[in-house]
């Protein structure tokens, strides 16, 4: 029995069926099938949401072991575990018991913890950006000169005081936006679509290994 369940053909078959279920009614419409496909897509979202505890399990495996072994910096692991478990409990969707996303403590932790941290982390980009610009923007040859030129002209346009004094930056930026930027975005988008289609072919034929068989056979 278990050797039968283990067969790789089962997941490949599931992949193909689910894929065709989404694609076919899009081109060949048949209402019951289309409704079923819509339902299946929602159903799949439930399956994805069920995986949520994998994160916690992995976290406990890594940080629990840290704490147990008292390895270097284990106290940080304690902090992580306590925060994870307490926020998960406070956020349980049980408003009947004063828990959930509209409860006082959830909003307290959300606004002062989650919001502060994610904004702070995101805003660090400004610094990385500045040092990146300073180090990488060198006109070493024609190509890097083009990156530099386009980049610096755009920066000039984006500075309110500069463009207020020298309005022609707006025109230059318009050209950059409408010509090379448009062309690049369009071409890369088309190419990425082709890549995704071919990847689908490989997956449907069962020759794409990465995701399904641990890269082996």
């Amino acid at each position: 029995m278990s050797s039968l369940l283990k067969r790789i053909e089962i997941p490949i078959f599931l992949t193909i069926v689910c894929c065709l279920l989404q694609v076919v009614p899009y081109y060949f419409y048949w209402k019951p099938l289309d409704d079923f496909a819509t339902r299946e897509a929602q159903w799949m979202n439930l399956i994805v949401a069920t995986a949520t505890f994998i994160g916690l399990i992995s976290l406990v495996q890594v940080h629990g072991a840290n704490v147990q072994k008292r390895s270097k910096g284990w106290y940080f692991s304690v902090v992580t575990l306590v925060c994870a478990v307490s926020f998960a409990i406070i956020g349980l969707p049980l408003p009947e018991y004063g828990l959930g996303s509209l409860s006082y403590w959830y909003l307290f932790l959300y606004n002062n913890g989650q919001v502060a941290l994610s904004q702070a982390q995101f805003s660090l980009l400004a610094f990385f950006m500045t040092s990146g610009v300073y180090r990488a923007f060198r006109a070493r040859n024609l190509e890097s000169g083009l990156v530099l030129g386009a980049g610096i002209l755009t920066v000039c346009y984006n500075a309110p005081a500069i463009v207020a004094t020298y309005p022609f930056f707006a025109d230059i930026r318009g050209l950059l936006n409408d010509i090379p930027n448009l062309a690049l975005n369009r071409a890369v988008t088309i190419g990425a679509a082709l890549g995704a289609i071919i990847l689908a072919v490989r997956t449907l034929l069962g020759i794409e290994r990465g995701y399904l068989r641990g890269g082996g056979d």
Partner: protein
Amino acid sequence: MVDTITLIGIYIAVFLTLGLFTILYKENVWFRIAEAIYLGLAVGYGIAFDLKYLRDQWNSPWSKEPMLMVGFALAILVGILWYARFNRSVFYLYRWPLAITVGTGIGMALKTVIFSQFLDQIRPQINLNLWLPNNPWQSLWNILVFLMVPSVLLYFWFTGSGHEWAPMKVVDKFARYTMMLGFGYMFGNAVLGRYSLFIGRAQFLLGITPNPPEAQPAFWVIAAVMLITLIGWDLYKRQKS
């Protein structure tokens, strides 16, 4: 005047913000505290979010009909197979929910990419008018777009030996110039976006309305403590070595 708990909240927010900022100096204990808290909160948040999603879905639409209820239960059962990964003897069962997820995902991709990312992008290229007698500049811009898009596409040609063909070398060069201009432009725009975010955080730290004014004293106090400890620790270590 705000109540004590709100004030504590503000101090926590300022502490966590500055804690993450200290990574700019170097890896240090303040950053690690903030990072550990962030990691924990985010995992907890993810779980709370997914469970809320499941409950909301149950409320509407899955509890409306018996058939749907069965479907919901089945989804949970299949979802539990994810956890088979942690068991050595049945680990392969996790591939079933995975296959359903990947199959559906690829299916949804297949039906839309051909339109939104392929045909709808080709269409405006076909609509280009290369000869506008009244507007020579616009004609020139259109001709540039007309040449740039195909050349970038051809730049990524993978198979065969087309790239060694002499005219292709010109196309490749042109494609690279196009890409470099485009990258520069996108990079320049990102500078503004990223600074906007930092400005927002700075406004919070300085307590500029509508942020709570209590944040400013908290900022100065906590920043001073962090700076002194960081630099002090560095000097102490340098003296010891």
